[in-house]
Amino acid sequence: MDSPARAWREFPQRYRLEATQCTECEKLLYPPRVVCPKCGSSTFENIVLPREGTVVTYTIVRVPPAGFTEQTPLPIALVELMEGLRVMVQIGDLADPSDLEIGMKVRLEFRRISWDGEAGVIFYGHKAVTA
């Protein structure tokens, strides 16, 4: 996951929460796709996702993968931002991770997600905080 191009090409979605909506069936797609998985159409409108949402499910990762060892324990949730659109994000700024629960209202904020050592790519995106 350390190629600058791989990080750069996802900037519109990760930095600006850009998504698309199918003009035929109104299915929301984040990230955008070439073809709508619901109706097969390939015409879309660009939209920007709202930043407020609700926790659908969550966990607290206590045994992290390589690259996240400094951020453990790591609360992560699926957050529903619009009806039919969910994103996976870390939950930041929790004084006590056990406060996390299904149904919690959260707001997305632009944050540093991970970094590849001293000289590698720094990955930015959104984390959720308590609304």
Partner: protein, 386 residues
């Protein structure tokens, strides 16, 4: 389509096999399967292996392994569907024999997982999730199943004690399996007091990191009758596969495993069987919650009733429908690419009446359910005594 039989099975000890390389553990199981089958040549080798590239830095694996067995020249293909790679190797071999392309196939699965450290193994397994939109945020494989568990608990009232009951049962079964990685009796309390890996899953809710291989020889039922001697002939009567969204974010219902439900429905239809016809079942218990959700998805229990079924002993060795008599991935170990083949081997052993202390009396119909990622793919096989 031609009728396909399992002619031979081969499995060695699963575990942390520091002294053996991937090629060695694979060859030992392959040779055991060929000896059990009584054949010394095959038309094809299929190898289920999730990630030799990340675990041992080796691609082009199937050719390497064919050569290791002295079979350079024979067609060989590695197939991959994350932790369902073994099941896919079996399904591929089944299709090759059923179609008439091959007469005899060596089906195998292998994973050598202990040549990397824990963080790298966690990363390698995590690549079964969507790297750009899930892995990017640091989610792990246990973390994804933990998210499914939270939903199951909230919707159906499933408890941590019920999850633990899966581990208790499977470790009890594993005590009777000489090839199992762990011969370790665990209690509900042991599970609940073990280290938290990803809430609500404790260490003992998780299958371990394992080195291991498993192999089978498939041929036509007709040829098996010629070669098989007095042993019962085990026919593969159903094979089903299905996929689902890899990303949990895109999955409409997080309380069920849709790929498992669809794969099982296809296998049942091909075999002309129903869940109540089964005598013994192996499901993909990579985590305790996975066994509960899998038993619901293959129709053994209604949605939401898989957890109480375990707690009530319905899936124990003496229960209504024994599940994971081998010890499951939980106790037997989970060398990810090998697990699907090892599950099928347990069913064959049971149907042959060769399961020793684990034998389910009178088992004539069995099912093996293998799963990739957090349910992004699943492969189900039904086998019967002819």
């Amino acid at each position: 389509m031609r009728d396909v039989a399992v002619l031979g099975i081969g499995m060695q000890d699963f575990g942390e096999l520091w002294g053996k390389s991937l090629r060695t553990i694979w060859a030992e199981s392959a040779i055991a399967a060929l000896e059990d089958a009584g054949v010394d040549s095959v038309d094809l080798i299929t190898v289920g292996c999730m990630s030799p590239g990340l675990f041992v830095g080796q691609e082009h694996l199937a050719s390497l392994l064919a050569d290791e067995l002295g079979m350079a020249g024979v067609p060989a293909a590695r197939v991959e569907s994350a932790c369902a790679s073994g099941g896919l190797a079996l399904r591929t071999g089944f299709a090759e024999v059923a179609s008439g392309l091959c007469e005899t196939v060596l089906v195998s699965g292998v994973e050598k997982m202990t040549d990397v450290d824990g963080a790298d193994a966690t990363y390698a397994l995590g690549t079964a999730a969507d790297q750009e939109w899930e892995g990017f945020h640091g989610i792990t494989f246990p973390g994804l199943y933990a998210m499914l568990a939270q939903v199951h608990m909230q919707r159906f009232g499933t408890t941590s004690e019920q999850l633990a009951a899966v581990a208790v049962k499977n470790h009890a079964n594993g005590l009777l399996n000489p090839h199992a990685q762990y011969h370790l009796k665990v209690s509900v309390e042991d599970v609940l007091t073990s280290t938290m890996v990803a809430d609500p899953l404790h260490l003992l809710d998780c299958s371990p990191v394992t080195d291991g291989a498993a192999a089978m020889v498939l041929t036509t039922v007709e040829k098996a009758k010629e070669l098989g001697g007095d042993r019962p002939i085990i026919k593969i009567t159903g094979s089903g596969m299905a996929t689902d969204t890899i990303t949990l974010a895109n999955r409409e219902d997080l309380s069920e495993l849709g790929a498992v439900r669809k794969a099982a429905a296809r296998a049942y239809e091909m075999a002309g069987k129903k869940p109540e016809d089964l005598h013994v079942v192996e499901v993909h218990d990579c985590f305790t919650i996975a066994e509960i959700m899998a038993t619901e998805a293959i129709g053994l229990f209604d949605p939401g009733f898989g957890a109480s079924a375990v707690e009530d002993g319905l899936t124990s060795m003496q229960g209504k429908i024994p599940v994971n008599t081998s010890g499951g991935l939980k106790s037997k170990g989970h060398p990810v690419g090998a697990s699907g083949v090892a599950q099928a081997i347990e069913i064959v052993s049971q149907l042959r009446g060769e399961a020793g202390q684990r034998q389910v009396e009178g088992a004539k119909v069995g099912l093996a359910q293998n799963m990739g990622g957090s349910g992004g793919s699943s492969i189900v096989h039904i086998m019967e005594v002819v």
